[in-house]
Symmetry: C2
Subunit: 184 residues, 2 copies
Amino acid sequence: MEEINLILAKNLKALRESKKLSLEKVAELTGVSKTMIGQIERGESSPTITTIWKIANGLKISFSSLIDHPRPETTVVLKSDIQTLSEDNGKYLVYPLFPFEADKRFEVYSIEIEAGGFHRADSHQEGTEEFLTIFEGELTVRLNDDQYILKNGDSIRFKADKPHSYLNTGKTLTRLSMILYYPN
Amino acid sequence: MEEINLILAKNLKALRESKKLSLEKVAELTGVSKTMIGQIERGESSPTITTIWKIANGLKISFSSLIDHPRPETTVVLKSDIQTLSEDNGKYLVYPLFPFEADKRFEVYSIEIEAGGFHRADSHQEGTEEFLTIFEGELTVRLNDDQYILKNGDSIRFKADKPHSYLNTGKTLTRLSMILYYPN
DNA sequence: ACAATACAGTCGTTATATTGTATATAAAGG
DNA sequence: CCTTTATATACAATATAACGACTGTATTGT
């Protein structure tokens, strides 16, 4: 996940050069010092929102043209490159595949649970939904007082704004895909 | 034009309350101190883009939900309330009616030019277009080496990224509407 | 009514964004 | 080659964003 100030840096520099403006000219148009403009373009500063506002208004450009980062056509995520999170003494392993970005509404994880592995999730924010699919092994999901036993190929969807838990009730490793969706 | 940090303040506070979160909880979710969250909500601080980023990500909300200000259904602008700009010894008077906002692509002015009044505009940024309509009197517009004489009811559109000038060649006051459009 | 807790706000300190001035670098003209 | 000009960066001073620890005020529970 690229740093936001670097995105801003690239956008601003590209915009300025496309308009063929000097730092000084931009400073004059926006009321932000030439020094600051330069630092922002080099990613050396994380400007305040008022500064960004001045820049957007002075240059007559939209706010989003400054913070949008051109999402690459293709993104490849190699399992070996993922920084995992583990719980239950390493028996519950989380692979963040496509983390949340402010312009998406969901994020994707892959989970591996060893036999007997357990995880209890606190309730997520209001409205959040979870979509699970089992790709290997067996999983028991508990919500409220209900309990669901899922096997390879099975899926489940539920509102995750209440506490819930996962338990590998099989004898082998369980692997599943988890999508978290934030409707709000 | 409302201050951007006040817009942010309202949005954040409304969002937090709609999720029924305390300042402390938001601090925990976002990694931004409780104090700062509070100050932002009260409009006492103009956060940096990295903190806004942390907030958007931590709360799983879009960037724009923080900076969008619900544009009121209706806006009335009374001529008597407008802060005018004048040039040519007050013979060229500008009324900014609907100034630029980062989420629009144009702005609207009304211009009054006394008989003989003159104004020379430097070239605006690349691609900018101007749309004029005469509502009273007569106006001569000069672009490059061309010259256009417009009378009551006439209109003109031109690329304003070159120097151009306006001259009231009539004997009475000229009033016109000017729209500046920024396609980029 | 009292204690316990959760919550929001204040205060002092530190980190850093922002500015104005000064310096470096490169391109252009004579 | 040496100026001149335009442009980008480096530096020092100030303003302010950001944090952690503390205080005040509701709210809850028994």
